[in-house]
Amino acid sequence: MKKSFLTSLIGVITLIILVAVSCNRKDVSNFNTVDNSTKELVLSYLNQQKILDPKASIFIDTLVSKSDWGHITQSLVSDDVKLIYVPLIYNRNRTGITFMYNNITQEIYYSLITEIPRNNTNINNKTNNTLIRPIDVITSFYKNKMNGYTGSLRAFSLSNNFLWEFGYEYGKRKFEKWIKTSSSNRTANNPFPVKSSSVSSNSNTSIVCSDYYFITWYESGKITSEYIGTTCVTEGCPATLGLRQDSLSINQGTLKINSTCGGIPEDGSPGGGGAAPEYIEITNNIKDSCLKALVTLLQNPDRLDNAIAKILLNVFGTNDKINLTFTEKNDLVNKWGIPINGYSKEHKYGSYEVFLNSSELNQYSKERQTLTIMHEILHNYFWARYNNINGLQINNHHTNMLENYIEFMASSLEDLFPNLKSNHDVTLALCFDDLYGSVDLPEPYKTIDRSVFNSVINSNKYSKFGLNLSNWQGIADKAKWQSERLSPLGTACSN
């Protein structure tokens, strides 16, 4: 009796263990038996990459020598795509090379270095990660099913450039992080001036690359920008920045963090061609879903080639911490009680706030609402840019926008709303409509002189391209209003 009880108990325990092991595997298919052919396939691909990118060759050699070939894992992302993960013997195997293999062509077609930072995997103690192995995390990432995962996933290219990082909490995407490099030409004081027989010079011009991390925080709608460092180059700025030594102990690669630019003061003092912000934080506190989405659209890092988004995210300030908050205020009126679409305020240098009146703005199309946001961003940009006595341009902001920023606004708007690209006259007319609010007011309130406004509209810079804007109000109406009937070229908020 006792013996049969023991036998049953052992049987039940074995069954529980088997069930537990099979449950932990989840839906990730594994091919743990990796033969030499996989290793050869991977090595062959890496050799090809060395030929394609000779600069990455030394780094790839280091990766190969540090690969843990005994622990290669594989997993299916889809019927056609398989992931092959080769761990590196750094960071307790949390860093490795991930290859994407096409089952149909039987070729590796993409690769990247992936890192699962250990310090971020436990955002709080209550985490219950079911994704334990790196291959599980990476596969789930590509399947877009993070299964309650808490932690982050970083990626670097084979030439040792940071690509991106995505953070998760209980399987929900919490943040995404990218790198942006901006360049500017600066004339720097050269500590070792080159003297010719007739001229001595102590200055020369170089390209200064400023690198930032741009992090989008999904819950709060914030985008934070962390200044990483500057580099002096002669040919042009690289797209991204190399792996940090503190995250991966590989000494090869292109580490350029906080390197100095010969002769350029590290404080990046204003006036040197537009110094970079060390840290900018943009908070989107707008409640109206349509308006909030439009602000987010401008905040989005992939809009960095958009001129106004660039101002917002990239050249907004000088060297100090910059905060810009978007706030909804639906009873927004000016000091005479007239309702207004938007309003900007500098609390002090580095602290800016844009107020948007959704009650007024919701009669307009997305395009026209976006112009109001751009308009307010420009006010704050002017303040951040001209933070000295000559920044006392109180009644010049709107005239400055009219004379110098109309094209920026128009191209940025078309970038965000490509439907306007084939109707450039409509885009320009919308921009004039945005600024006309500063003209069409009783004299004491207006900040653009009507004659200046008319001269810009009728200037030959538009007519020489065949654009006739004399009836600009009628043209603007084609995309100004929320109603599709009134404005067939505009985008309603419901779309």
Binding site: K335, E346, L392, Q393, I394
Partner: protein, 188 residues
């Protein structure tokens, strides 16, 4: 004896009054002197672009500085021009006494101070008449009377144009007024 006492008493009273009035007048005249220096600084060659001079370098001014009281409301204080109460600030270099002086001057000073062409030496000055500024069809930039504080070493100025506001601090160094920091700036 009684008459002698009355005479001495009256004399003392008169002299106290005189001293007090002359001190007040001395302060007012000192304030005007400082405002003249401030406007010389604000309209000098390096800063003249700030004041939107016309093409022929003419500086157009209203007849007088307005007062903050014009924008004061019991319920909302200076909300109509979006100026909050001054509070102690390391950034703006404002101590408790500075804040008291600034808040009280904004509330109490209702006097108008008239611009005089003689204050300006280099610029062509056009001072608008009352008739022009009282006509709603005419626009002009309003200058609110500067508040000079901390023993004539600091000054706070607000300028209004349409719905836009610029306020800033000046500081005195080596007997010269220079720009210090912007305070609140707003724009529509």
């Amino acid at each position: 004896m009684k008459y002698i006492f009355k005479i001495i008493f009256t004399f003392c009273l008169l002299s106290i009054c005189h001293k007090s009035f002359s001190q007040n007048s001395k302060n007012v005249s000192r304030e005007i002197q400082e405002i003249k220096l401030i406007f010389k600084y604000l309209t000098n060659e390096n800063t003249s672009t700030s004041f939107n001079l016309t093409l022929d370098d003419t500086l157009t001014l209203p007849p007088y500085f307005t007062s903050y009281r014009k924008y004061y409301d019991e319920k909302t204080k200076f909300k109509s021009i979006d100026l909050p109460d001054f509070v102690r600030s390391k950034y703006f270099n404002l101590n408790k006494f500075d804040c008291e002086k600034l808040n009280s001057a904004m509330l109490k000073d209702t006097s108008r101070l008239f611009f005089h062409k003689s204050w300006f030496t280099k610029n062509k000055i056009m001072i608008l008449s009352d008739l022009i500024i009282n006509n709603d069809k005419n626009g002009y930039t309003e200058y609110i009377k500067p508040i000079i504080f901390r023993n004539y070493t600091r000054c706070f100025i607000t300028i209004l144009h349409g719905g836009d506001l610029e306020s800033f601090f000046l500081k005195k160094r080596n007997n010269q007024w220079t720009f210090d920091k912007f305070y609140i700036r707003t724009a529509e």
